[in-house]
Subunit: 597 residues, 2 copies
């Protein structure tokens, strides 16, 4: 199999009239036609939608994303495109679809909701794959157990939907959920992609418990205690039917023998169709806060203050340290602050800080527990941060403005979903974005160096630095938000160059990405190259064993089945940057350069 | 390949003079001789020890266990026996050994320290396997990073050794470790078997971070961020050599792509040769406590009180609720309390409680943090438990006796290893033990029912009920300690019957074991039988892909490679119980029966 060019080489000459404009690799128009017939038999006519023409590739919005391609297309819009979207109505249909795809050797790209925003959305890695849209029909909250503090969800349950469920059933007093920046994504999908939120339960993967998975061959497994099917009813002594799940499925992760859950995260080894997620018992009190850090250089002190507080759980949740432009972008588009197409000067950034009454870096956290506990924690935190000259401390009620990031974060940090963070995507016209998200030790030196390295490249690419540090237990996810104008080819080219260059630069320092966009999955995978890519060889061995025909999400996270040549399918190196927007000769202009940090 | 009978069918007629008395299945005496020669070339002559004769099967003690077989042999002592113990000196020797074992098709059973006590010790599942004793030479604490609160250890680092390292380097003020009941085991070995301890870091598997693993073929991988090898030095910009580990290896578990660590736990897919483990920052204050529960029936209330306190983290650590005989057994052997070979009566148990000033159940926990925080937590805990009539509250200093379980637990709960819990193993003469450890929801009903079901079978088998409930985040491990006299065939037979029967009974209620002894691994694996054992089929597929010759730990946790017939290798059902020691007709004698609970 050879890859389509950026404009797919395997365009279907018969496109239209129920024929896709792009076919799965190696599949003929006639074969695909027979395949579609069978899909309709399995999932119902109304649940099979063929992408007949380029014109169907309408981006939509975050609220209503198209499931055919990446809304934030960083390469040609027509590249990461599916041949059809198919929406199974229940688990047996997912199983049947997997058997069918094996029969026809059609690659499948499963999505829950398709809002994997900044990482490729609903788009498949291999053009012409079918998108299996799990969340459309399989969207039930199967259980919320407030006593044991967990939920069991299907792929289509969004953070908003789970929140609504808790509200409707008056469960919010008992259990809180965790939510990432945006509430529209799938709880299950976000978790298996190892996304994070910001409450004490922010490490979603750590907080998942028990999964039901359709394997590439269509086989169905339950992991952990779910593999022990039945519970005899305590009182009646009656064995319930085969489908009754084990009562400890959402209570204990590991079960017996090899603990397999991890191989189904960021992976192409199975389709997760049910997942347990732990909820946080209502902590009995809550207070969000913000600490503003006035200067860029005090990023170092701030991070060094954060580390011991976090490991000691004085900082109970996953807090964030956000650069000024991230908060500015939530308030207004770029044009509000600067009309010209050039980087902000230091003076301009300081002016924005002054106007918004924020620091160059702003720290968002929350206190959980009864008041006496919160008081002890808050006084410790205040004392620690007070060594930073000019640091200021705010509770949401201290802020006068009608809208503030602190007010939004105050919701997020108690697990109430919002859409507010969407606003920074519109920093540029036709606003689109990519995330660059390397992992580092929680240290001031690492933060400064990472900031400096990324800022330098942002300036070269003419992209504003918008980033934050998300503090996990012992590491930080540095999330660099690369914004671009998707209708401007030069803007896309620069964004693509930027992420490729950052991956390369950061790998030199040992900073690896925790997750990435389709277009650079191969590149990131190659940076994890200990012992001649031994880990990738392991991944491939398992892939080939479980998915011998290589039909499930080929290429996902750089793992290619044996029937694909990964060299051929690699996305071509985007570009070299012809004209860096910032060069050393322009230092005098007041542009910030890393050397000044 | 067919299994040896309980007395191995493949006894080596040439045994002695450097020939093992039992050979690996399918390997001739001549082949094994050539194999040994190569082993000596790889690991050094002094590191290859052949088990030439039955007489070498000396059990030893916990302090100095023999690595040739199971010290607590529940089946024939000569059954779970190795042909030779081989002690590699470094990782490349482990890799070479795996390549050699593939060449000769000799099964390998890796152990760290070999103290997997109650679950099979150092013994291999397949008689005649070689035991690869990793911990003998590979026993360095490679790093303790107090700033980021982790350690990187080799297989031979025991909890005692790590404790000593922290003491010697004056690190105890900064970081605490977690320790299981006994301190002599391997930190790495315990963690990959998913053992637990009792501090807030008691879930060892959850707290591990980053591994180096030799795959069955001899390939070496590092997981998580370890797969990204180099960190450019921040200051010099120099790339260190290939072996320099990534600085985030012990900080962030998941890395990029499928998260593989879990498949190396309780598994036969790789040999873990290095592992990171998170340490707990010194919490700034500590107080152990005990709460005595006077009656058996209040086990129910106690567990229902515990559940919400634990999920809310008012109970910060992994606490335990111990039956009276467990604490009694730590103080004295059975004969001290009862001369006759019959179960204790209720009155006798109450008398023991009175003598030892304990309850029928005793709850051990600890408070962590500065005094004001501990005070808030303690008053909440006291208030909650005060609804139990007669419940009493103790700090260690409240106890007058020179030795008490509370004083031992006070060490354990701050991560200081002891050997004190060894004492209960000597409950019977020639004291040996097995653990039966099902998982259940943290609920009073489950606890009572599980107690009742297990007690009933204990009485039938004539085994005293010695057990405790270990409370995880949302589940409890019920650890039933089955003690037996290993020199008494009838005692062994009864213990074996008991564990088999308990596995069967508990599976009916949906309670599955988290870990088990070699002799019943197949039986437990079969209870996890959702969808016609779909999980086991998955495990086997991965096993066969990564270990095509089936040489690494065949049969571990019930996973058999394709070159073994699992039916043939199953341990024969031990026995039926000819004469239950307790029958309904004897109810009147005062023996406790489940119906009375």
């Amino acid at each position: 199999m050879s890859p389509p060019a950026l404009h797919p080489a395997n365009l279907n000459p018969n496109k239209g009239k129920d024929e896709p404009f792009i076919l799965p690799p190696g599949v003929t128009s006639a074969q695909f036609s027979r395949f579609l017939k069978r899909c309709r038999e399995i999932c119902g006519v109304e649940n099979v939608k063929v992408v007949e023409a380029e014109e169907q590739l309408v981006d939509g919005s975050y609220y209503e994303p198209n499931k055919t391609h990446d809304m934030h297309h960083i390469v040609d819009r027509n590249y990461f495109v599916c041949s059809a979207t198919i929406s199974p109505r229940a688990v047996p249909e997912v199983q049947d679809m997997m058997r069918l795809c094996n029969e026809f050797e059609v690659p499948v790209w499963p999505v829950s909701i398709g809002r994997n925003t900044g990482y490729g959305g609903a788009a498949p890695r291999v053009p012409g794959s079918i998108v299996l849209e799990l969340g459309k029909h399989m969207n039930r909250v199967l259980e919320v157990n407030a006593e044991d503090a967990y939920a069991l969800v299907e792929p289509g349950v969004t953070f908003f939907a789970l929140h609504e469920y808790l509200e409707k059933n008056n469960l919010k007093d008992r259990v809180w959920m965790d939510v990432p920046d945006l509430g529209g994504g799938s709880v299950l999908g976000n978790t298996i992609e190892r996304g994070v939120g910001y409450t004490p339960y922010g490490d979603h993967w750590m907080m998942h418990c028990g999964m039901e998975v359709v394997l590439p061959t269509g086989e169905l497994i339950r992991t952990g205690m779910g593999a022990m099917p039945n519970s005899r009813d305590d009182v009646t002594g009656i064995r319930p039917d085969e489908q009754t799940p084990n009562r400890a499925w959402q209570l204990f992760n590991y079960g017996f023998g090899p603990y397999n859950d991890g191989i189904f995260s960021q992976s192409s080894l199975g389709i997760v169709v049910k997942m347990g997620i732990w909820l946080m018992p209502n902590p009995g009190g809550y207070q969000a806060y913000m600490i503003t850090i006035p200067t860029d250089k005090d990023l170092k002190s701030a991070v060094d203050i954060i580390r011991p507080l976090r490991t000691q759980m004085v900082l109970q949740n996953v807090p964030t340290l956000r650069s000024i432009l991230m908060d500015a972008a939530v308030s207004n588009p770029r044009s509000h602050f600067l009309k010209e197409d050039r980087p902000f000067t230091d003076a301009e950034l300081d002016q924005i800080c002054k106007d918004l009454d924020l620091g160059r870096w702003n720290f968002y956290g929350a206190l959980y527990g009864p008041e006496p506990v919160r008081d002890v924690l808050w006084s410790t935190i205040k004392q620690a941060f007070s060594v930073i000259p000019g640091a200021k401390f705010y509770f949401p009620e201290d802020r006068k403005e009608p809208f503030s990031v602190l007010k939004t974060r105050s919701l997020t940090l108690q697990g109430i979903p919002t859409f507010d963070e969407l606003r920074w995507v519109d920093w540029l016209p036709n606003g689109s974005h990519l995330f660059f998200s390397p992992i580092a030790k929680v240290s001031g030196d690492d933060a400064m160096l990472q900031y400096s390295v990324t800022l330098k490249r942002c300036l070269e690419a003419g992209v504003d630095f918008i980033g934050d540090f998300v503090i996990g237990m012992r590491e930080m996810h540095h999330i660099v938000c690369i914004t671009f104008d998707k209708k401007n080819e030069e803007s896309k080219r620069r964004a693509h160059w930027l992420i490729e260059t950052l991956i390369k630069d950061c790998a030199e320092y040992g900073w690896g990405e925790y997750r990435t966009h389709l277009a650079v999955m191969d590149q990131v995978a190659l940076t994890y190259d200990f012992n001649d890519n031994a880990q990738m060889k392991l991944n491939e061995q398992i892939k080939n064993a479980l998915d011998p025909k290589g039909i499930l999400a080929p290429g996902k996270n750089g793992v290619w089945p044996k029937n694909y040549s990964k060299e051929e399918w690699r996305i071509p190196k985007s570009v070299t940057l012809d004209k860096p927007q910032q060069t050393l000769s322009r230092k005098g202009s007041g542009w910030r350069t890393p050397e000044k940090l």
